[in-house]
Amino acid sequence: MAMLKSKEIYIQAMSASCCAGVSKEEIYESLLLSKSGIKKHKDFLIDGSLSAIGKIDSPHSFENIMLEQVEDVLKSSELESFHNTFLLVGSSVGGMAWSEEQFIGSGGSCIDIDLNRQSIYSISHTLNKKYGFKDSITFSTACTSSSNAIVFAKELLESGACEEVLVVGADSISLTTVNGFNALGVLSDECATPFDRDRTGMNVAEGVGVILLGSMPSDIKLVGVGCSSDAHNITHPHPEGNGAKSAMQNALDNANLDASSIDYINAHGTGTTANDRAEGRAIISLFPNRPLVGSTKSITGHTLGACGTIELIISAMVLKNQTVPQNFNLKNQELEELNLPIENISIEIKFALSNAFAFGGNNVSIIIQKVSDES
């Protein structure tokens, strides 16, 4: 009987685009130089007030930006096509922005809405049409969507069902998400300041992160994944971060590592009062050796369902460059026990853990390893 077997899985190629840059190199440079992509816009909140949003500055449509990133991964991989590749998509809004345009443009009617373009499935529909993947599945668990896709990619590869998996995390800005987070009172009108005592909330952003996973050795290995549910509240995390702690512990167990092995944590760190406090407490309680912790959302914004792939790519860039970016905008740290660098730190980093948490208490942690030349 086929079972999941431990297998060495590597990042074969990766590409990302968000408000902080249109390539993974540009995004990482923005993090090191504290160049935030968050800007104030008047076009999103229905009351006409300003909101601080992470919109990609590009003349291309979001769909074309996504296709460019996927093409970039195909070109930088050793594959000739994606015909034998399993596609996993992670998205929380799918074609929502397009549907909003149709609904508002037609005077409040759904008559022109095409399900292939409206639904979460619209992303894999577009990608399948262009590339003809072997098969595809779309994950939609709000802000952990693409993280859950990575979890499943590891399981698919370990099952032997396929040789390569392409994970695409993609979410565009929509009126629904901007105004929805505003209704919850967690949207900041300034650039977010995660883990700061005086933080004022999050910045909704758009982005695409694309990761090709397979068994061909590279310098970044995917070693552990962990999932959990808070079982606590539909929007608020457990105050002590019990669900977050459980996801991180499950990832450590899956990687056969103890907590002291982790050198860097890319926190979910949205900038909301509840998330940062719960996540911070979970990290403090699980990692007594105080690894470096950073939230990159003050530079990239919160890219919702895409943040899992984008922030795993950022973590991979940290491992490749052996430099942890500063926590931009952090002035008055709330939890003193957290090791939050306020300047870039070059240090030996072997293992990085990336967190993503979502509505409903859906939690995912992912661990990657820098493979040294000797190992």
């Binding site: 086929a2 229905i46 508002i104 639904s119 209704a183 919850l184």
Partner: protein, 214 residues
């Protein structure tokens, strides 16, 4: 690759407009929480109770997600009126299993897939791979779209506007006696067809074993 899944228990709900016997007052004792549950969440809680759900991991599938909440939000945007925070927090696709995790105090893994008309096939494939860890998995597939714009959107002529299927499964070495043959159920959303087909076949067998090809 093929994975055989033993179907331990199964349940279904199908209603033209609204499932009436979901036993909410018995299954969800807290009134405030009960009032916040979406239609899909109520169906999820009911189906889970019917298949003997305890603390298993869940793979949930929905093609359309929380259309009532989404429609309320988009109408508020169009009319420039206040958006309900409850509508927004209930608008994500994983809402039903999040409520289920709270009600069952289950801190385990719950994932949600959404592939329009291929959704039930995605539930089965995802569940089959997840089940290779050896534990029992609850497969849930629900679509509830009795909402204000349904007449404009219902181009397939679906008459069952609330439907859901639950299968409790585990990996087995036993020979399969259920194969997916893509039967059509015109009155039900295509996003549930394969799960419904398996439910119907499993009901007729004493030891149903499903073959899933990935």
């Amino acid at each position: 690759m093929k994975v055989n899944l033993k179907i331990i228990s199964s349940a279904v709900v199908l209603a033209d407009t609204k499932c009436e016997e979901l036993q909410e007052k018995i299954l969800v004792k807290k009134m405030m929480l009960r009032r916040r549950l979406t239609r899909s969440s109520r169906i999820a809680v009911y189906l889970a109770s019917k298949v003997g759900y305890g603390h298993e991991r869940i793979v949930f599938g929905t093609a359309y997600g929380e259309v009532n909440a989404t429609a309320d939000i988009i109408e508020s945007i169009y009319n420039k009126t206040l958006i309900s925070p409850t509508a927004f927090q209930n608008s994500v696709h994983n809402t039903p299993v999040s409520y289920l995790s709270m009600l069952s105090e289950n801190m385990g893994e719950m994932t949600t897939v959404s592939d329009l008309f291929n959704t039930s096939l995605s539930v089965l494939k995802t569940g089959a791979i997840k089940a290779l860890k050896g534990d029992r998995i609850l497969l849930l597939n629900i679509d509830a779209f009795n909402f204000k714009f349904i007449e404009q959107m219902n181009r397939c002529g679906v008459s069952k506007l609330e439907s859901g299927v639950a299968l409790m499964v585990e990996v087995t070495q036993e020979e399969a006696n259920i194969y997916i043959e893509d039967e059509r159920y015109g009155e039900v959303s295509p996003s549930l067809w394969q799960m419904l087909e398996i439910y119907n076949k499993a009901e007729k067998l004493s030891n149903p074993v499903l073959e899933v090809e990935i």
